[in-house]
């Protein structure tokens, strides 16, 4: 009769579950320790690697800086040359425009054939020209030349300011030319 009634059965079932849970907890904890150690080791190794790399690169930077310091004379010369040439480049490109005095003088010299240039003034973007033409034909030729294509590339506006016939039959005239920028 006493063999049939097992009073400890419920406790045994509960104990087995608890033992299983405790076993899993133990294994889980060990796995956590292991995983954490691995992660920590990986982090530490990567940090060491980075530190080494930084040191290595910093050393290389120091070497390069020493080399640059040794080459400072060359650098100075290069910087000055570059500064001067880039400024001169801008200067020469602005000079090559229509307002270049040499171009203007060459044009006037070429067109004013037979004309006695009395006065020529060039200031900023204006040119005043006073001349004496021996006759009307030469004056006409000159004025026609001023209307040419070459002239339009140099001047934006040409105004015949005055024209006076002289006693000897020559013509004293004045032209105002606005220089293109």
């Amino acid at each position: 009769m006493s063999g049939e009634i097992d009073f400890l059965k419920g406790q045994q079932v509960g104990g087995a579950l608890k033992t299983k849970f405790l076993h899993s907890l133990k294994v889980g904890t060990l796995v956590l320790i292991l995983a954490y150690c691995l992660v920590s080791a990986a982090v530490f190794s990567y940090w060491l690697f980075l530190s080494n790399q930084t040191n290595k690169i910093n050393n290389e930077i120091a070497v390069k800086k020493t080399k640059i310091t040794a080459l400072k004379d060359v650098e100075s010369l290069q910087v000055v040359l570059k500064q001067r040439l880039s400024s001169l480049d801008k200067f020469f490109s602005s000079k090559k425009g229509a307002g270049n005095f040499n171009n203007l003088l060459a044009f006037i010299n070429q067109t004013a054939t037979g004309i006695n240039i009395k006065e020529l003034k060039i200031a900023e973007d204006k040119m005043n020209f006073t001349g004496l033409a021996p006759n009307m034909m030469i004056l006409e030729n000159f004025l026609n030349d001023l209307k040419s294509n070459e002239s339009s590339s140099l001047f934006s506006k040409i105004t015949l300011s005055s024209i006076d016939r002289q006693e000897d039959g020559s013509y004293l005239f004045s032209v105002l030319l606005e220089i293109k920028k």
Binding site: L8, Q11, K18, L22, L25, K26, G28, T29, L32, I33, Y36, V39, V43, F44, W47, L50, S51, T54, I57, E60, I61, K64, K65, K67, I68, T69, L71, K72, D73, V74, E75, S76, L77, Q78, V79, V80, L81, K82, Q83, R84, L85, S87, L88, D89, F91, F92, S94, K95, F101, N102, L105, N109, N116, I117, E119, L120, K121, I122, A123, E124
Partner: protein
């Protein structure tokens, strides 16, 4: 009695297991908080710094390669020529002497020569003027007015020569009027240019900008400039390329 003992043993064992797991968990949290997290943050920072350092190293390597590829004697000659054409500061005696020499070469009489506004002749003043003038004409300048007498062809020749003679000059205004038969009088305004040294120079990390092909062409143009030898009286304090130490400037 035996049953009670068994339960007590099991409880003790489970308590130990809970305590061990709890201890490990607390340890993991603490180590994470005080070691792993700072280390991770340090790694992120070190990584960022490393990238910056790598970039700096690449720039420095490029700079060293560029500098090593430059020839010092060749550069010295080029800078010497560039400084003769575009001096560091207002070269009043040099400009006046050059204008006179060009006029004499063209058999012209220099009747009058004046400088309306010289201002300070140190590079300090030049630097102040540079920033103002940059917008207008890119280079700071000094104006010289002179009156020439001679044949017109010679006067025109003078204009051409002045603009291809050192120091750099440009005719900015002129007036030619007939004086006698075959003789003209010309009032000319010439601007002579100069350029002070750059303010920022010699920084280690600053890259060396190479001379472009366009600038090489400009240098070739400079080579054709006429340079008059200076007399002892005309020597200015402008340093030559060989003496130029911009790092200690």
């Amino acid at each position: 009695m035996a049953k009670i003992d068994l339960a007590f043993g099991q409880d003790k064992k489970s308590k130990q297991s809970y305590l061990f797991s709890g201890f490990v968990l607390i340890l993991v949290v603490l180590v994470s908080l005080f070691w792993l997290m700072p280390k991770l943050m340090a790694i992120v920072k070190a990584n960022r710094d490393l990238n910056v350092s790598r970039k700096t190293l690449a720039e420095l390597t490029k700079k060293v390669t560029t500098l090593e590829g430059l020839s010092k004697p060749e550069l010295t000659d080029k800078v010497d020529l560039a400084l003769k054409i575009l001096p560091l500061e207002k070269d009043v005696p040099g400009a006046l002497s050059t204008l006179k020499k060009v006029a004499l070469n063209n058999e012209l009489i220099v009747n009058e020569m004046s400088i309306p506004e010289v201002g300070e002749i140190t590079s300090g003043s030049a630097e102040t003027k540079t920033s103002k003038n940059i917008k207008e004409e890119a280079l700071p300048s000094l104006s010289v007015k002179l009156t020439l007498i001679g044949p017109r062809e010679k006067i025109i020749n003078f204009f051409n020569q002045v603009e291809t003679t050192a120091p750099l000059m440009k005719v900015s205004g002129l007036s030619i009027s007939q004086k006698n038969e075959g003789t003209d009088e010309s009032l000319i305004e010439v601007r002579t240019y100069f350029l002070p040294l750059p303010k920022t120079i010699g920084k280690l990390e600053q890259t060396v900008v190479p001379v472009t092909s366009q600038e090489e062409k400009i240098f070739n143009e400079l080579s054709s400039f006429k340079i008059f030898e200076k007399s002892v009286f005309e020597e200015t304090s402008s340093p030559s390329a060989a003496k130029l130490d911009l790092f200690g400037y």
